[in-house]
């Protein structure tokens, strides 16, 4: 079972920590972290802080998704657009988007727009690249099928190109969502005064390690849940796909 390995590791960690084989100060027992999580959601601000991060993620993803898919499709279908834009994409894509934060704060000031936009750019480039890949790697015979069977222009796009690229678009959205979360937690760690990333930072500063690990755990769980969610949507929408691999 896929749960066996982490379970064993957690138990080992618990034992080592309780018997001070590893420093309980730096590696508090998982049960302690568990109680911090329960308390934090019940009485503390873990719920609020999670919501702050989720809201930023929502705005970032929404900002990135539509333009990203559109640009990717356009680049895939119009050679001149691709030739004009591709160098910039190739240039910016490998740059960790957190390094855009100083630049964005200079323009927008320190605040939500700069934070959200950092997350959005992170998702945007991934979505563009995946979508473009989806159009470029489509079976060229399907285009011939479309043309031979009378689908031209807009009809060819809606009936052939877009459906063919859809699996890659979904992959791009999923990866983009994950990257946006990464960037946002980093932004919160460095610059924001709220959110899960900020919690990690604050508790690290105060060496309150159980709280720090609790925030970690929520970030991880969020990433897992959101990616799984998008995958479920994909399985719903693309029933025709042979198989949608498990995460």
């Amino acid at each position: 079972m896929s749960l066996a390995v982490p379970a064993v590791l957690l138990v080992l960690w618990e034992i080592c920590s309780r018997h001070a084989i590893v420093s309980p100060r730096y590696f508090p027992p998982p049960t302690t972290v568990g109680w911090v999580l329960v308390d934090g959601f019940a009485a503390g601000d873990l719920g609020t802080q999670s919501l702050v991060t989720l809201t930023r993620l929502g705005f970032a993803f929404a900002t990135a998704a539509v333009p990203g898919v559109l640009l990717g499709l356009l680049m895939g279908m119009a050679r001149p657009v691709r030739d004009a834009v591709e160098p910039y994409i190739a240039f910016i894509f490998p740059v960790p988007k957190i390094t855009l934060l100083p630049f964005l704060t200079i323009i927008l000031g320190v605040g939500e727009p700069a934070f959200v936009l950092t997350g959005a750019t992170s998702a945007f480039f991934q979505i563009v690249i995946s979508t473009l890949g989806g159009v470029q790697t489509m079976d060229p015979r399907l285009l011939e099928v479309g043309r031979n069977y009378g689908a031209r222009g807009a009809r060819l796009f809606w009936k052939v190109i877009l459906p063919a690229a859809l699996p890659a678009i979904f992959t791009g959205l999923r990866l983009g969502l994950g990257l946006a979360l990464v960037a946002l937690v980093a932004v919160e760690f460095i610059a924001a005064k709220s959110g899960l990333g900020h919690l990690v930072y604050r508790h690290w500063q105060m060496l309150s390690t159980p709280e720090m690990y609790a925030a970690f755990a929520i970030v991880g769980a969020l990433g897992l849940l959101l990616t799984r969610g998008l995958r479920a949507v994909q399985a719903r929408v693309l029933t025709w796909q042979e198989e949608i691999g498990r995460l």
Partner: protein
Amino acid sequence: MPTRAPKVLVNEVSVTFESHGRSVVALDRISLQAHAGEFLCIVGPSGSGKSTLLRVLAGLLPQSAGDVRIEADRPGTPLTAMVFQEHALLPWRTVRDNVTFGLENRGVGRAEREARAREMLAMVGLTRFAQHYPHQLSGGMKQRVGIARALANDPEVLLMDEPLAALDAQTRTIMQEELLRIWATLGKTVVYVTHSLEEALLLGDRIVLLTARPGRVSQVYSVDLGRPRGLEVRGSPAYGVLLEKIWSQLREEVVRAMAEDRGGEPA
């Protein structure tokens, strides 16, 4: 018997591909005709331009020189419908929606589309699979959907590019018989590309043999083996004579093609 009215006219057609700064002549001044209702088979070594010829006929590829004409006697119907090698079904459409794809693009109403799909799926024996997706079908079934899709579009000329090449021997034999039956029912003009001389002799009214690259017409053979034709034709002496005659010519071309691909002299 096919009537003598010409349906497909290919006149001195050449196709040259430019790739990586080199130009490849795929077709070199090809001329041929298919009569209305004729089953015309094209055979030739790999790379002799058979698929290229079909794509020119389908209007998917412009010829570099020469002209192609397809006589349209029924306005409003498409000139061609292609059965692609390895089916090329749209994976996001059900079997039925693949079959109605061409009709949908022409604005045929839903009721009529579905009636036509039912009819064609019955003809290829896939009625029960109308709501399946392509990935749920076997190779032979996908190929039959490809054929039903082309038939449903009711073209002036049916173009088939090695439609049975990917099938196992048993399925292929059954499909050949089905094709004969369907063709006899519908009386369509068919241009049919195949690697198999046996298949061409079983199906065709005439066989056009192309030379190794660049593709030219080497010989045109009439297949005077009578109709309706079934598998038993393989036992007839005339069949053996014709097969031998075409094969000796084709063999020369294939050896030449292989030698050229190796970049050496003919063996």
